[in-house]
C-alpha cells in the first residue's frame, strides 16, 4: 500500500527531529513503551539513520504489570532490529509492594512510571528522552513543544516554554537539565494506523479483537492477564470479543468490545468511533486537568 503525501511529510519531519537529537545531545535515549506509537517510532528511527544503526539505546520502564504479550513482543522486536534495550523497574516501589490494586492507579503510576523514569534518566545521565506522545492525544499535550525542556527535577513549566520556530530546535541544556523530544507531535491516531498499514509495521495483537477473559468494573472491561488480579466474591472472568486502543499496565487499561480482528477493520473502526483513545486510560480521568498535573511532575 502506498503512502499519502501527507504521511510522507510527517515521516520526513519525524526523521528530521531524530537526527537533530542525535547530533545535538550527548546522551539521548528512545523511550520504548511497546504500543503502536512506539512501533512507529522504532520504524522511523531505523529509517532516520539507515544504513547505520540508531546511535542511542531504547529504554523501557517496566512496571511489572504490562500485558505478558507486550513483553514478549518487546524482546522479539529488539532481537530482530539488533539494538540495545535498557529495562528499568523501580525496585524501591516493588519492595514497598506498590501495585495497581492495593495502591490505587495514581500512586502506582507515580511510583512505578514517573519515579521509575526519573530514576532511569538520572542513573544513565540521559540528557534527552525521545517519546511517542502526540499532540492530538490530550489538551495539555497540544501545547507541548517538540523539544520540551525539563529542569533538573524533570519538571515541565507550561507557562515558560521555549518558543519553537520553523524546524530550528533549541537543544541546549545545562548539566542536570534535559529535554523530552516528541517526533510524533504532529501525527494523529488516524495517521499512526494508516502509516502502520502502509509500511507493514508489526504491532502487538492486543490491538486486534479476539476472545479474551475480562471482568467488568465501573463500566470498564479489564482483561485478566494473569492471576495477580484479585477477583471479588462471585466475580467470574468472561470470554468476550475485545481489543485495546492503547496499551499500558493491564489492570489500568480498559478493553473495548470490538469485532475488528484485522488491521483494516481496526482502521475502519477508528474512523467511526465515538470515544477518544485515552478514554481507556484510568489515570487521565481523575479530573480534567490531571494530565497537565502529571506532566509538570515529570510524567511522560
Amino acid at each position: 500500500m502506498t503512502k499519502s503525501l501527507h504521511l510522507e511529510r510527517l515521516e520526513s519531519e519525524s526523521i528530521h527531529i531524530f537526527r537533530e537529537v542525535a547530533a545535538e545531545f550527548e546522551r539521548p535515549v528512545l523511550m520504548y513503551s511497546i504500543g503502536k506509537d512506539s512501533s512507529v517510532l522504532l520504524h522511523l528511527v531505523m529509517k532516520a539513520f539507515y544504513p547505520a544503526k540508531p546511535p542511542f539505546p531504547l529504554l523501557h520502564i517496566d512496571t511489572t504489570w504490562k500485558f505478558r504479550e507486550m513483553i514478549a513482543f518487546r524482546d522479539q522486536c529488539v532481537k530482530d532490529l539488533g539494538i540495545e534495550l535498557i529495562v528499568h523497574t523501580n525496585q524501591d516501589g516493588l519492595d514497598q509492594g506498590i501495585n495497581p490494586f492495593d495502591s490505587g492507579s495514581q500512586l502506582h503510576t507515580d511510583v512505578m512510571k514517573t519515579q521509575a523514569l526519573k530514576q532511569a534518566l538520572d542513573l544513565n545521565r540521559f540528557d534527552c528522552a525521545i517519546g511517542g506522545a502526540r499532540r492530538d492525544e490530550e489538551k495539555s499535550r497540544a501545547k507541548e513543544r517538540v523539544m520540551s525542556f525539563r529542569d533538573s527535577h524533570h519538571a515541565w513549566d507550561p507557562k515558560n516554554q521555549r518558543p519553537e520556530l520553523w524546524n530550528l530546535y533549541n537543544c541546549r541544556v545545562r548539566p542536570g537539565e534535559s529535554v523530552r523530544a516528541f517526533p510524533l507531535s504532529n501525527w494523529t491516531e488516524f495517521d499512526i494506523w494508516h502509516y502502520i498499514r502502509a509500511e507493514g509495521i508489526p504491532v502487538p495483537s492486543l490491538y486486534m479483537a479476539a476472545m479474551r477473559p475480562v471482568v467488568e468494573r465501573d463500566g470498564q472491561l479489564i482483561m485478566v492477564d494473569d492471576d495477580r488480579i484479585p477477583l471479588g466474591v462471585g466475580e467470574e472472568p468472561k470470554m468476550e470479543m475485545v481489543r485495546f486502543r492503547t496499551l499500558g499496565c493491564y489492570p489500568l487499561t480498559a478493553a473495548v468490545r470490538s469485532s475488528a480482528t484485522t488491521l483494516d477493520a481496526v482502521i475502519d473502526e477508528t474512523s467511526v468511533t465515538e470515544t477518544s483513545e485515552r478514554q481507556g486510560r484510568m489515570i487521565d480521568h481523575d479530573q480534567s486537568g490531571s494530565m497537565e498535573k502529571k506532566k509538570r511532575e515529570g510524567y511522560f
Partner: protein
C-alpha cells in the same frame, strides 16, 4: 471522516484577545465531527463549571488546554489541533491575542501557510489585528482570511462588515499578500464557519471551511535551487559516507552539480536515499541521505547547494529580528545562533530601527525589548552560508539563544548580506604577538578582576602589578575609573552603555596583549555575557578571570568613595549591587575572598597563577 490521502494545510488563528479564536477552532472541530463522545462529555462538564455561554457549549474550553487558561478564560500559549474534511487535512495553531504572548504567535506563524485573522465586529481593526497581520507578513505567510466575528452581536449588519473590511484593506495595502478573503461569521453559532445561514444572505462568498479547503499551500514559494543543510554524517563503515538532512528549496536529482558551503568545494550528487529507498529525484521537504561524487569533507552545519544556484557566504547580514525575552537585546552582546543546522556566535553590530507595528513607522532605538521587531546588522563569528528569507525560509531563518540560560531569546529572518563583510579584511602584520612576547620573556595575558565596587579589585590589581614589575615583567593596568574618564567618558551606566564600556575594555586589553604585555584589568563588569565576550576575543588560555569576592555588607562598610551611601540615598541610579545586578562568575580561574584575605595574600595567589602559566609554556 476523511482518509489522509490529501494535501495538508497548516494555518494559524490570531487576533485580539476575546475575538473568539478558540471558539472558532472548537466550532471547526465540532462541525467536522472530530469530537469524541468522552471529549464532548468533558466539554459539557467544563462548560457548566467555567463556561461563558449560557446553557450552551463553550468551544473555547476545548482548545484552551492548560488549567490556568481555563480559569482565566484566555489562551496563553500556542496549541496545535488536527482535523480533516473530505477535501483536506489541517494542522491549526491557536495563538494568543495578548500582546505579551506575541512571541507565541510568531512561533505559530513560522510554519503556517495561511493565517485566519479574527476581528471582533463590535471593535473593528485594533492594534493586535495590525500587529498580527504584520507578523504573519514578516514570517512569509502569503494567504490571509479575515474573519469578522460576532456578527450576531451587531445584528448581522452588512455596513459594519464592509467598513471593517475597507479599514483592514487599507492596513495591509503595502504588505502584498497573494490571497486575501474576508468573511462575516459568528463562531459561536457556526454561521459562515461550516454552514451558511439566512441572517447574512447579503454575503455570497465562501465559508471559512470552504476557503481553507481551496487555499494554496505556500511551501512551493522558494526561489532558490536545492539546499541540503547537513544534520549528521552517516559512516556505518569505511565504504559509505552519507550526508543526512532535510532537503529544502527545490528538488534534487542524481547527477546535479553541487557546492558544499561555506567552503565552496565543488562536486556532484552521486546517490539519494529517502525513506522510500534509493531514488533518482527527491522533493523539497524530504528527509534524505546523499552521497557525493568526490571524496570531500563536509560536516554538520555545512549546506550542500545546487552548483548553479549558490548561497550567500558572509559574516554580516541585515535581518529582521523579533525579540522574545524579558531581558532586552543589547547591541554588541553575544548570543548563540542556530541557522539551519549550523550553530555559531552572533551579535547585533547595529540596531537600525524598530518597527512600530501600528503605523509601520521606523523608530530609532538602542535596545530591543520583549515583542519588539527590529531591523539590524547582524555579525557572525565566522562565514556562514545562508539565503535571504524571502528566497528560502529554511536557510534564511535563525534563532538566537542566551549563552547562559540557553533560553530562545530571538527569532530572525535574513534580508540580505552586507557587502562590507567581503571588503573588510584584517591587516596582516609581520611581527606577531608570540615574537613580541618572547622578546620580553613572558606570555601575554589579560588578568580580569571583576567584583562589586569596594571589593578590593584595584587594591589587589595594583599590588599584583608592582610585584610583577619587581620580577621584571612588562605590564599595564587598565582601571575602571581611569578608562571611564578618558576613552569611555561618553558612556553612562545603563545596561547598553555598560556593555559598550566592557567591549572597549576588552578591545584595548586585546591590543596590549597583542603587544606582548601582561594586562591587568580592574572593572566591575557585572554581566557574565560581556566578560565571556572578552574571553572569546582573546586566544585560548589568555583570559584569566579573577573574581574579587567580598560580601555586599563588607563592600558597603568599606565604601572607599562614599558611593554606596549615595546610592542608598537614591543619588546614584543603576548602582551595581543596589539597584543593578551583579552576575558572579561561574568558572573563574581564581576566586579571592577578600572578606578573609589580606590584599598582599590575594596578590600572591594571582602571582602564583601567572607564574604557573609561564612555567607551563
Amino acid at each position: 471522516m476523511s482518509t489522509p490521502e490529501q494535501a495538508l494545510l497548516r494555518f494559524l488563528t490570531c487576533g485580539s484577545v476575546d475575538d473568539g479564536k478558540s471558539t472558532l477552532i472548537g466550532r471547526l472541530l465540532y462541525d467536522s465531527k472530530l469530537l469524541f463522545a468522552d471529549q464532548l462529555e468533558t466539554l459539557n462538564k467544563d462548560s457548566q463549571k467555567f463556561g461563558t455561554v449560557p446553557d450552551g457549549m463553550d468551544f473555547a474550553l476545548l482548545v484552551d488546554g492548560l488549567e490556568a487558561e481555563r480559569e482565566q478564560g484566555i489562551t496563553i500559549d500556542v496549541a496545535y489541533r488536527y482535523f480533516a474534511t473530505p477535501q483536506r487535512s489541517f494542522i491549526v495553531a491557536d495563538t494568543p491575542g495578548h500582546e505579551q504572548y506575541t512571541r507565541n504567535m510568531a512561533t505559530g506563524a513560522s510554519t503556517a501557510d495561511l493565517a485566519v485573522i479574527l476581528v471582533d465586529a463590535r471593535h473593528g481593526v485594533v492594534t493586535q489585528t495590525r500587529r498580527h497581520t504584520f507578523i504573519a507578513h514578516l514570517l512569509g505567510i502569503q494567504s490571509i482570511i479575515v474573519a469578522v466575528n460576532k456578527m450576531d452581536l451587531v445584528d448581522y449588519d452588512q455596513s459594519v462588515f464592509d467598513d471593517i473590511v475597507a479599514d483592514y484593506y487599507e492596513t495591509i495595502a503595502d504588505l502584498g499578500f497573494n490571497h486575501i478573503a474576508a468573511i462575516p461569521i459568528s463562531a459561536l453559532y457556526g454561521e459562515n464557519v461550516t454552514t451558511q445561514f439566512d441572517q447574512m444572505s447579503w454575503y455570497d462568498g465562501l465559508s471559512v471551511i470552504e476557503s481553507l479547503e481551496t487555499a494554496p499551500v505556500s511551501s512551493s514559494s522558494s526561489k532558490t535551487g536545492f539546499r541540503l543543510p547537513v544534520q549528521i554524517v552517516s559512516r556505518p563503515d569505511q565504504d559509505f559516507r552519507g550526508y543526512a538532512g532535510t532537503l529544502c528549496g527545490a528538488p534534487m536529482t542524481v547527477g546535479d552539480s553541487a557546492i558544499v558551503s561555506p567552503a565552496g568545494t565543488q562536486t556532484s550528487i552521486k546517490s539519494i536515499t529517502t525513506p522510500e529507498g534509493e531514488v533518482e529525484t527527491a522533493d523539497a521537504g524530504t528527509a534524505v541521505t546523499v552521497t557525493l561524487a568526490d571524496n570531500i569533507d563536509a560536516s554538520r552545519g555545512d549546506i550542500i547547494c545546487h552548483g548553479d544556484q549558490g548561497m550567500l557566504v558572509t559574516d554580516q547580514v541585515q535581518a529582521h529580528l523579533i525579540w522574545m525575552s524579558d531581558e532586552p537585546m543589547i547591541p554588541g552582546r553575544q548570543y548563540l545562533l542556530k541557522l539551519a543546522t549550523r550553530s555559531a556566535t552572533a551579535w547585533v553590530s547595529e540596531l537600525k530601527h524598530t518597527v512600530n507595528v501600528n503605523t509601520m513607522e521606523h523608530v530609532a532605538s538602542k535596545t530591543l525589548e520583549l515583542n519588539d521587531i527590529g531591523v539590524c546588522n547582524l555579525s557572525f563569528d565566522r562565514r556562514m552560508a545562508c539565503d535571504a528569507y524571502g528566497d528560502c525560509h529554511d536557510t534564511g531563518a535563525f534563532i538566537l539563544i542566551d549563552r547562559f540560560t540557553y533560553a530562545t531569546v530571538g527569532a530572525g529572518m535574513i534580508d540580505f548580506s552586507l557587502r562590507r563583510a567581503r571588503n573588510l579584511t584584517l591587516q596582516t602584520l609581520t611581527m606577531d604577538k608570540v615574537a613580541r612576547a618572547r622578546s620580553m620573556g613572558q606570555k601575554p595575558a589579560v588578568i580580569w578582576f571583576t567584583g562589586l565596587s569596594g571589593s578590593g579589585k584595584s587594591t589587589v590589581a595594583n599590588a599584583v602589578e608592582s610585584k610583577l614589575f619587581d620580577k621584571g615583567h612588562r605590564t599595564y593596568l587598565l582601571d575602571g575609573d581611569n578608562v571611564r574618564h578618558g576613552l569611555n567618558r561618553d558612556l553612562g551606566f545603563t545596561d547598553a552603555d555598560r556593555v559598550e564600556n566592557i567591549r572597549r575594555f576588552g578591545e584595548v586589553a586585546k591590543l596590549f596583549a597583542d603587544a606582548g604585555l601582561i594586562v591587568l584589568v580592574s572593572v566591575i563588569s557585572p554581566f557574565r555575557g560581556e566578560r565571556d565576550m572578552v574571553r572569546d576575543l582573546l586566544d585560548d588560555d589568555e583570559f584569566i578571570e579573577v573574581f574579587v569576592d567580598a560580601s555586599l555588607e563588607t563592600c558597603e562598610k568599606r565604601d572607599p568613595k562614599g558611593l554606596y551611601a549615595r546610592a542608598r540615598k537614591g543619588e546614584i541610579q543603576n548602582f551595581t549591587g543596589i539597584d543593578s545586578p551583579y552576575e558572579a562568575p561561574l568558572n573563574a580561574e581564581l576566586v579571592l575572598d577578600t572578606d578573609a584575605l589580606s590584599p598582599d595574600d590575594a596578590a600572591e595567589q594571582v602571582i602564583a597563577l601567572i607564574e604557573k602559566r609561564i612555567l607551563e609554556d
